[in-house]
Subunit: 231 residues, 2 copies
DNA sequence: TTCCATATTGGAACGGCGCTCCAGATGTGT
DNA sequence: ACACATCTGGAGCGCCGTTCCAATATGGAA
């Protein structure tokens, strides 16, 4: 025999939790939440369900792992600037990740409100919490300020992702916004007066601008309640 | 024959969309999201799937209808007071509804970010929007302010509902909070420094107080950005 | 009252899902 | 070379949402 041991020589790359999660993210990106199935996953990885279940407990855990992987990546980018700029950067990072992975919004909202013990909640809480801290918020109000920020970021980004997704792939995004606004404006004028008024503004503004306006509203509240901080 | 016509005399009450939605809500309340199944629904209503599908298009529509019914009920109560008090009242109404129907949070978040055209989004948007309007916010910022408020209310209430639910029925609610806080505090101290600090505060405060503190933070932002309004 | 078109019912069955079971292949330490 | 733990993948189970359709109830016209 030659010096190199002949060993291994697998037909395919060895199965691993990493490879499974990676494939799961690809399937989710390609076909949405219903596109992730153990059957197509086994086909994609050229294996059987038993092999996958050896590395992953169940589908829920797989979804958590996929979510965590994407979020970790989105929060990885370091930024430097004023606390306000940093909050913007983190928020836009999550916004972009949700925009690129439309299934992410629902997963984040579900995992946040179902199992705060999972890995995702602390990751986001920490990333935003540090910036809130840097804003000069007193410690006993960190949680309040960070909560408001986090729930708004995820909720608004999720709603935006829905807008870019529901329409036909080639259809203009504005078309869907118009459809939603139209649906709202078709409501009983007396009962939905304010909603109808808001429908117009919604489609006028640029997405990220509108998104950041909400963040600045929260930051204004922080500055008002805890003056002395540096924004 | 007597004066009263003998007519009808069904074995059971006539099936109707209302009765189906009502039963769906009961099943969701009793056993959570996975407790709502067409099989147990047919059993409960003593009928077959075909009968149900005559009144309801599919499970998604049933979930939307159930969500809408509960939300409409929660928002029905009229309140009078300062705009700030009214915002508090609406927010607490949703908070209580989510607390009483733990499945509601996930449904609201999903429906809000998946199909803003549905009946639920405008209902909440209108109820909060009117109060935001009364705060003196200029029209072009109604949507921004209402969005922030809405996403926070639903996100925070949902997270709270998870806390009251995950533990064993008889176990004290504080136990779960402690568990979450503990899980967070067990994280790498260097990497999750801020999260650990927040974990403590989370379990110290009363739920609704903590919840309202977030709302007041948003209202402070509104007051700061749009002075001249009356709170 | 009789009759019939229409509205409504519920049971059987289908395909697909998450998941379990387990016999065998594969790799490792002695 | 052998025994043992790790890892694989195919067969199949129970349950799901949903469809199909023959049977039944209903209400207006004759």
């Amino acid at each position: 025999m030659a010096t190199g041991t002949r060993r291994a020589q697998r037909r395919t790359e060895a199965l691993s939790r990493e490879r499974i999660v990676e494939a799961a993210v690809e399937l989710l990106d390609a076909a949405g939440e219903s596109g992730l199935t153990f059957r197509v996953l086994t086909e994609r990885l050229a294996t059987g369900p038993g092999a996958i279940y050896w590395h992953v407990a169940n589908k829920g855990e797989l979804l958590v792992a996929a979510t965590d992987a994407v979020v970790a990546d989105a929060l990885a980018a370091e930024s430097a600037g004023s606390p306000r700029e940093e909050v913007h950067a983190v928020a836009l990072g999550l916004f972009s990740a949700i925009d690129a992975h439309p299934w992410l919004a629902a997963q984040l909202l579900l995992q946040l409100s179902r199992s705060p013990g999972g890995p995702v909640t602390p990751r986001i809480l920490e990333s935003l919490g540090r910036r809130v801290r840097a804003l000069g918020v007193p410690e006993e109000h960190w949680f309040t300020a960070t909560s408001v920020l986090m729930h708004y970021v995820l909720g608004a980004a999720g709603q935006n992702a829905a807008n870019s997704q529901v329409t036909e792939p080639d259809a203009d995004r504005a078309e869907f916004l118009a459809a939603t606004a139209e649906a709202w404006e078709a409501l009983d004028p007396a009962e939905y007066e304010t909603t109808r008024a808001m429908a117009g503004q919604m489609s006028e503004h640029d997405d990220r601008e509108q998104f950041l306006a909400g963040i600045d509203l929260v930051l204004a509240g922080v500055a008002a309640l805890y003056p002395g901080g540096r924004a």
